[in-house]
C-alpha cells in the first residue's frame, strides 16, 4: 500500500433510516490517508446523509465509523457517554464544508476563521489571528478579512468556510456539495482551492456533481444509489466507455 494508514476513514455496515425511509443500507467504505474520494449519485441516493453521518451531524442507526483510529460502533444505539466522547474527538480531527457555507454572520471573515482555534483549541487570540490571516491569504481573501459574511459573494463565503475548516488542522475534510449553491462562474475559485488541498495530500471526501473536478482530482469515485454504494472505482473507469450502464445514464443526465 503506497499511502500510509495514519489517518484513515473506515466505514462498515452503516445504516440509517428516517421513519419509513431507509436512506443508508450497509455502506462499507475505506478511505486512506491522502486519498480524495468523490461521492456521486442522484438526489435521494443518501450521499449527503452518508457524509453527514461521518461526523455525526446525522446519527447512523447501525454500523461502525472509524476515523483516525477512533472507532464508534452503532452511533444511534443508546447514546453512551463513551461514544459521545469519541464523536467529539473525531469532530476535532476532521472538518466539514457545507453546501450553505454556514459562516457565522455576526463575525468578520477573520473571526470566523479563528473562532475554532480560539474557543475549541484554546490558541491565544493574537497567534490565531496571524494564522487566520495566512489561511485567508491562502484562499485568496486576505483583503476581505474584516468584512462580514453578508458582504461576501457565495464563492468568497465558501472559501472563507474552507479557511475556517483548515484552521482546525483537520486530518480529513468532508465536503457536502460545496459548490451546489454557487453560480457557475463562482465555482471555479472554490474548486481551485480544493484542488490545491488535494495536491497537498489532504484526505478528502467530497459529495459533488462537478464531473470535471471528479475526473481531474479524485483518486476514486464512489457512486451511490438507493442507500447503497453501487460503484467504487477509478475516475478513468467511471468516466470511460466501460463504466456500468447506470453510471453512463447518470452522467448523461447531469451533463445535460
Amino acid at each position: 500500500m503506497m499511502k500510509s494508514e495514519k489517518c484513515t476513514v473506515r466505514v462498515s455496515g452503516l445504516a440509517k433510516r428516517f421513519g419509513a425511509n431507509q436512506v443508508l443500507r450497509q455502506i462499507d467504505l475505506t478511505v486512506m490517508q491522502g486519498e480524495v474520494v468523490v461521492i456521486m449519485g442522484p438526489s435521494g441516493s443518501g450521499k449527503t446523509t452518508f457524509i453527514r453521518s461521518l461526523n455525526f451531524l446525522e446519527t447512523a442507526d447501525k454500523g461502525t465509523i472509524e476515523v483516525c483510529g477512533i472507532e464508534v460502533i452503532d452511533p444511534g444505539a443508546r447514546p453512551s457517554r463513551a461514544n459521545r466522547r469519541k464523536e467529539l474527538e473525531i469532530r476535532k480531527r476532521t472538518a466539514m464544508v457545507f453546501q450553505s457555507f454556514n459562516l457565522f454572520p455576526h463575525m468578520t471573515a477573520l473571526d470566523n476563521v479563528i473562532e475554532g482555534m480560539v474557543s475549541v483549541k484554546g490558541i491565544e487570540k493574537a497567534k490565531a489571528r496571524i494564522r487566520g490571516r495566512q489561511l485567508l491569504d491562502r484562499v485568496g481573501l486576505l483583503g476581505k478579512a474584516d468584512e462580514y459574511p453578508a458582504r461576501l459573494s457565495g464563492g468568497q463565503k465558501q472559501r472563507v468556510a474552507i479557511a475556517r475548516a483548515l484552521a482546525m488542522d483537520p486530518e480529513v475534510i468532508f465536503f457536502d456539495e460545496p459548490t451546489s449553491a454557487l453560480d457557475p462562474e463562482l465555482r471555479d475559485d472554490v474548486l481551485e482551492v480544493m484542488r490545491e488541498l488535494a495536491e497537498e495530500g489532504m484526505t478528502m471526501l467530497v459529495v459533488t456533481h462537478e464531473t470535471r473536478f471528479a475526473r481531474d482530482v479524485a483518486d476514486r469515485i464512489v457512486f451511490m444509489e438507493g442507500g447503497h454504494i453501487i460503484e467504487d472505482t477509478t475516475p478513468d473507469h467511471f468516466f470511460g466507455e466501460n463504466a456500468s450502464e447506470r453510471c453512463i445514464q447518470f452522467l448523461g443526465r447531469i451533463r445535460d
Binding site: L57, K92, M96, N102, L103, F104, H106, S119, V120, M168
Partner: protein
C-alpha cells in the same frame, strides 16, 4: 399646572426612581430567569421542558395584578410576609420572565440549524456554541419583542401602587387626593411615563440598527 408640577417635583423625583428601579431591575432579573426558562424549553430533557412550559402557561395566563395580590396579600396567610417593594419586584420579575422566555426561545429557534452544525463540526460544545454562536444571533432577532416587553413592564410597574409602593402612579393619586387636581396630576405622570418609554424606544431603535449593520 406648572406650579403644581413644581410643587410636586420633590415627590415625583423620588417616585420616578421607584418606577425606573422597579422596571429596570425586574427586567434584568426577569431576563436572567427568562433565559433559563428558554433553555429549559429547548432542552432535550423532558421534565425540564414540561416545567418551563407550565411556568410560562401560569405566569402568562393570569393577570399581573392577581400575581401581585397573591404575593403581597396572599402569602402572609402562610406566614410569609414580604415588604411592598420586594413583593412588587418579585411579581414583576416572575411575570416578565414568562414573556421574555418566549421572546428568547423564538430568537434561538430563528437561528439557522446550520449554525449549530458548523459549530458542532468543529468540536465546539453546547455551552460555547450557545454563548458564542447562537445567542448573539438570537439576541438580534429577539430585540424588538424584548424592547416592547421592557416598555410594557415600565407601565406595569404602576400596578405596584396597589400595594402601597410610592411610585409615579401612587404619587399622582396621593397629590390628586390632597389638592383635588386629579386631571393635572395624572396628565403629568402620564407624560413622565411617555418620556421614559420614548427614550427606551429611541435606544432600542439605535441598538437594532447598530446590530443589523453587519448583516447588510
Amino acid at each position: 399646572m406648572v406650579e403644581l408640577f413644581l410643587r410636586a417635583l420633590p415627590l415625583l423625583e423620588k417616585a420616578v426612581l421607584y418606577t425606573l428601579g422597579l422596571g429596570l431591575s425586574s427586567f434584568m432579573l426577569g431576563s436572567m430567569l427568562g433565559m433559563l426558562i428558554a433553555l429549559f424549553r429547548i432542552s432535550s430533557i423532558k421534565p425540564l421542558r414540561w416545567l418551563a412550559f407550565s411556568y410560562v402557561s401560569v405566569f402568562r395566563g393570569t393577570p399581573l395584578l392577581i400575581q401581585i395580590m397573591v404575593i403581597y396579600f396572599g402569602l402572609p396567610n402562610y406566614g410569609i410576609v414580604i415588604e411592598p417593594v420586594p413583593a412588587a419586584l418579585l411579581a414583576l420579575t416572575l411575570f416578565s420572565a414568562a414573556y421574555l422566555s418566549e421572546n428568547f426561545r423564538s430568537g434561538i429557534s430563528a437561528v439557522d440549524r446550520g449554525q449549530w452544525e458548523a459549530a458542532a463540526s468543529m468540536g465546539m460544545g453546547y455551552r460555547k456554541t450557545l454563548m458564542r454562536i447562537i445567542l448573539p444571533q438570537a439576541f438580534r432577532v429577539a430585540l424588538p419583542p424584548v424592547g416592547s416587553r421592557l416598555i410594557a413592564l415600565m407601565k406595569d410597574t404602576s400596578l405596584a401602587s396597589t400595594i402601597t409602593v410610592v411610585e409615579l402612579t401612587r404619587v399622582a393619586d396621593q397629590i390628586g387626593a390632597t389638592t383635588f387636581r386629579y386631571m393635572d396630576m395624572f396628565l403629568i405622570v402620564g407624560a413622565i411615563y411617555w418620556i421614559i418609554n420614548q427614550t427606551l424606544t429611541i435606544l432600542q431603535t439605535w441598538l437594532e440598527s447598530h446590530l443589523s449593520r453587519r448583516y447588510q
